[in-house]
């Protein structure tokens, strides 16, 4: 008979769940990772359509540092998971840009270049910016007890030019902020360090390479992964989860449950009333257009890896009133990382803020029509910044917040989860903990660190204290 009791059950085979599973199984805990989908990765996954390979999530991995860089988050992950830099095979970016009307800031994986570029473009802000950088570098973003502060208020107390403030916030918000309009200062510091101070990289094989490395390691250390195995309910008695009911009706038991399904999503599985939880739901989601091209963008004269753009007077990071807000977004050219050989297929990815409720309310014909309608609008908008690539497109896929909710189970397709993070991972239930997007660290590196730190804090250290 199949095993039905585990030391730890982990919900979700995303980056955080797999990282937690590796830690626990390596230290001899019996671990079962349950994944509803047939592919691992969660918010960072992959799919194939008509013979073309696509990534979801990962444009670039943040926190890129050269192998062996001491004290860096990426180095910590390799150590904690007993992996090596070769397992991920990250290639650095060429360079990226923040483009606003009349101003461009460039950055690469050498932070000094970014500082110099800000100083050159905003000479009047030079001293202010240098003081802000010093404040950021001295700030302890890992302090779980730090009270939340408004990032915009703190940054504006250093910088007096709102354009520079917006240009700094733009990439950091788009790549990792669950809150509309403002960003918690600790979160701002995490993102500033991971994107500007460290940098961007990508495996040539995309997110598959990362997922494959994590799955292989999890198997090696004896963890169990069950795919196409959704959780229907977490059954609580008093303040403990006593069993887990799967979609199939099968029942498993575990001493501890770690859930990466999201806080609201997890509490719903425990039967907590929907209305109590609704205000905590995340809202921010995106559409993405991935186009396969007949040649790399650099042949058209475009060598930037990622462009974070904004065409409006101010930068608005909030749920759009329309289906999509094409005034700002991301243009990602995966070909423009410094790989040792070219990608099998060239592509370009365009990402913009989108309105989940709007997309979700459409019936099928209207949904398809809306995609047809928004595709040229978004393309038109990004042509302010890149050469016209439209006649090089050989295939296009378009996914929406509805697609994201369908495949990840995250409500509203909220890619960065709930606006209020649960840094300790604790829930009202004593043997149930949250990891991943809603615990507080975002992005691929953040998600893995989240799984690692929650496994350490709530299972390994406790077992040890006994």
């Amino acid at each position: 008979m199949a095993q039905t009791h585990y030391d730890v059950i982990i919900i979700g085979a995303g980056m955080s769940g797999m990282a937690a599973g590796i830690r626990l199984a390596y230290f001899d805990k019996s671990v079962c990772v349950l994944e509803r989908h047939y592919a691992a990765g969660g918010l960072n996954s992959f799919y194939a359509l008509d013979g073309h390979q696509f990534d979801v999530g990962l444009h670039a991995m943040t926190n890129y540092v050269r192998p062996g860089t001491r004290g860096a988050p990426l180095t910590k992950i390799f150590r904690q998971l007993r992996l090596t830099p070769e397992d991920f095979g990250l290639a650095p970016q060429h360079h990226s840009e923040v483009r606003f009307p009349g101003k461009t800031l460039r950055f690469n994986n050498d932070f000094r270049c970014f500082v110099q570029d800000v100083v050159d473009n905003f000479p009047a802000q030079a001293d202010h910016f240098v003081r802000l950088v010093k404040h950021i570098q001295e700030y302890d973003e890992l302090d779980l007890e730090a009270p939340p502060r408004s990032g915009r208020a703190v940054v504006s107390s250093f910088l007096s030019d709102p354009l520079l403030t917006d240009m700094i916030f733009c990439p950091l918000m788009i790549y990792g902020n669950a809150q509309e309009r403002d960003m918690e200062f600790g979160q701002f510091v995490v993102m500033f360090k991971s994107i500007f101070c460290e940098g961007l990289g990508r495996p040539r094989e995309g997110v598959r390479r990362i997922i494959t490395a994590l799955r292989r390691k999890l198997r090696e250390v004896g963890g169990t992964v069950r795919m196409k195995c959704g959780v229907q309910a977490l059954n609580a008695e008093g303040t403990r989860i006593t069993s887990v009911t799967l979609d199939t009706g099968e029942i498993l038991t575990a001493n501890t449950i770690l859930s990466s399904a999201g806080y609201v999503e997890t509490m719903r599985l425990c039967g907590t009333d929907h209305a109590t939880l609704a205000p905590m739901e995340g809202r921010l989601s995106f559409v993405e257009i991935i186009s396969i091209l007949d040649q790399p963008m650099k042949h058209l004269g475009h060598d930037a890896t990622i462009i974070f753009y904004n065409t409006g007077k101010e930068f608005h990071y909030e749920t759009p009133k329309n289906l999509v807000d094409a005034r700002s977004g991301v243009i990602c050219c995966p070909d423009n990382f410094l790989f040792d050989k070219p990608l099998p297929e060239s592509m370009i990815r365009l990402t913009c803020l989108a309105n989940f409720d709007g997309w979700n309310a459409l019936d099928e014909p209207a949904y398809l029509r809306a995609k047809t309608e928004w595709l040229p609008k978004i393309q038109q908008e990004v042509l302010h910044f890149i050469p016209d690539f439209r006649h090089h497109v050989v295939y296009t896929d378009f996914f929406t917040p509805r697609t994201i909710q369908k495949w990840t189970g995250h409500l509203n397709g909220a890619v960065y989860g709930a606006p209020e993070k649960l840094k300790t991972g604790k829930t009202p239930i004593e043997n149930l903990f949250i990891c991943g997007t809603d615990q507080g660290f975002l992005g691929i590196v953040g998600a893995m660190l989240s799984g690692i730190s929650m496994a350490n804090l709530h299972v390994l250290k406790r077992a040890h204290a006994r």
Partner: protein
């Protein structure tokens, strides 16, 4: 285990946890933290590896005893004498 074997065992554990560190010049009487880039996560792992490999329990209050190779030997020798 002899004292040298204990030092070797601890160094082997550090080599697994921190393969990017050069361990060829580690001094026995100097704190590991002063010679190597090891944070609290890494120290937890040294303790966890000692348990995994040798069944040795190190309570949290005793982590300080593992500061240097010499202090590791003093602290671990009684626990590892039959291993």
């Amino acid at each position: 285990m002899t004292n040298d074997q204990i030092k070797h065992a601890v160094l082997q554990i550090i080599a697994v946890i921190a393969p990017d560190e050069d361990l060829s010049h580690v001094k026995s009487d100097v704190a590991l933290r002063d010679q190597l880039e090891l944070d609290s996560m890494d120290f937890l792992d040294i303790v966890m590896e000692l348990r995994k490999r040798y069944g040795v329990e190190v309570p949290e209050g005793d982590y300080g005893q593992l500061a240097s190779l010499d202090s590791c030997v003093i602290y671990l020798a009684p626990k590892l004498k039959d291993k």
